[in-house]
Subunit: 299 residues, 2 copies
């Protein structure tokens, strides 16, 4: 199999009640592909400005992430600044400078066109069609979205949902998208709107996965300290899809295991700022934490 991720490569400036980091490496494409790189060899498609550091590209390459789809444009890299409250679920966007990301028209390199899994990480839903036209019948199309697209590109979003296999959303987005106040009704309604799988991320409360005729739930790993929640959701998707990409056959059981691997990798991502934790993370740590999850929920 093969996994191609279309998303942002960015600088993030992050402030928590305990520390501040300026212009560290981030973006959905980076978090997701780094997380996936512990399971498979993903390719990433995105755009950076000339200010994007070579050391960051080197690190991605070292993790065996395909970079043929990353174009370097004159101008500055996408920059997001956010602030977290005492409760890490409280996040405020301080500023967003789209920069070169504003004119992002994703081009799949020839080798990526036959990807088995294509992940469109909360990009403008109007960009889905031109991407999918370049692809040659992927087995799975997955997407994430954000409040901004739900509110501003509603029609395009629902059109794209119809040809999406897996939708990732957080609980707030799922309710908003479905127009439901009850999360379970929202999940089931979204399953009827197209995707055969709707994966609802609830942060510290874990994940609920809705499929046609089945529901799966996993609590989050109990974390005493959350250093930086940025990228947790993108890392989750990377672990989830990375696992699906490495199994010989995608079954309901593998969806369940993918959910746990996604939760495992997200639980590492939040242990340090930005992508720092991925620099030291080992396969053994991932396997240990997978077993920890078994122990967490078994009865």
């Amino acid at each position: 199999m093969s996994l191609v991720i279309v998303g942002s490569l960015a600088f993030d400036t992050i402030e928590t009640p305990f520390a501040r980091r300026e212009r560290i490496i981030g973006g959905s494409g980076i978090y997701c592909s780094l997380a996936a790189s512990f399971f498979t060899w993903p390719g990433v498609v995105g755009v950076v400005g000339r200010d994007f550091p070579k050391t960051a590209m080197e690190f991605l390459r070292k993790r065996k992430i395909g970079l043929a789809g990353v174009s370097v444009k004159a101008g500055k890299t996408f920059h997001w600044e956010g602030r977290y409250g005492e409760d890490p679920n409280e996040r405020t966007t301080v500023r967003t400078d789209l920069n070169v990301f504003a004119d992002f028209h994703p081009v799949l390199p020839p080798a990526y066109r036959s990807a088995d899994i294509l992940y469109l990480a909360n990009i403008n839903p109007e960009l889905h069609a031109p991407i999918l036209e370049q692809a040659r019948g992927p087995k799975l199309v997955a997407m994430d979205t954000i409040r901004y697209w739900i509110e501003n590109k509603t029609e395009a979003l629902f059109r794209e949902l119809e040809r999406t296999d897996i939708l990732f959303a957080n609980d707030e987005e799922a309710k908003l998208l479905a127009g439901e106040t009850n999360l379970v009704r929202a999940g089931l309604r979204l399953v009827r709107s197209g995707p055969s799988l709707v994966v609802v991320k609830k942060g510290e409360h874990g994940v609920l996965v809705f499929g046609k005729g089945f529901v799966f739930g996993v609590p989050a790993r109990p974390c005493e300290i959350v250093v930086d929640p940025t990228g947790a959701g993108d890392s989750f998707a990377g672990g989830f899809l990375g696992h699906l990409d490495r199994v010989p056959k995608i079954t309901r059981r593998e969806f369940r295991r993918a959910t746990v691997f996604g939760s495992v990798i997200a639980s590492f991502a939040i242990e340090d700022f930005g992508i720092e934790r991925f620099k030291t993370l080992s396969q053994g740590e991932i396997d240990d934490r997978f077993r920890e999850f078994k122990n967490l929920v078994s009865f």
Copy 2:
């Protein structure tokens, strides 16, 4: 084993966005003992006024709940009125008339003094000592509490925690009691303050159980419709303790199974107003839903 529950027997007036019920049967002692009655033969200790209907007492008796500890006093039964928002987690207390409950001085009937499990369901923590003095060394003392006691009887509450084996609390109460904004730190801190087990109820997000050196988590059963969330927490405790009361030996594994049985019985309680659902609930339905939980979380 034997389980004795000290709590309220009450009238509840409940309003949801969809319906209103006046003066239906409720109270922590009733929800808890009804839930427990599907697992064991609990006794309840409480007080009612002369206005408490005989038919309600008859129903409890039919469920084999011991009523020797229920005294009937001149005056009116405790009456609580509450309103739920569109989101069932939003609950407003409209009024509380303590009535005969204001002078509640629990007396354990002789047969209850050797109870193995004693559950003090969010009563004034200053009443714990006189109750425990009447008991002859219970194997397990369990308690629940509410924001009111945490804020107004803080000292008494912490004193009682030291001799409590199992503390039930919702997430908000656990954080408040521990003075922590992170729920996991709160749970671990409470375990250090006395109870060997801290059971944190998170409503639609399930339950986290903290013990000395272990954590257990279970998502809530995904519910599309919540008719009336009143008594869900008390029902959870009843199922939890009822299960512990019936097993020959209380082990870590039984704590885990107790958590699931508690979640199962709570998931039934919210399907109808007040105690209605307990009138039709069967053992087979409980067993089916226990298996459903296995399926919900297995991977």
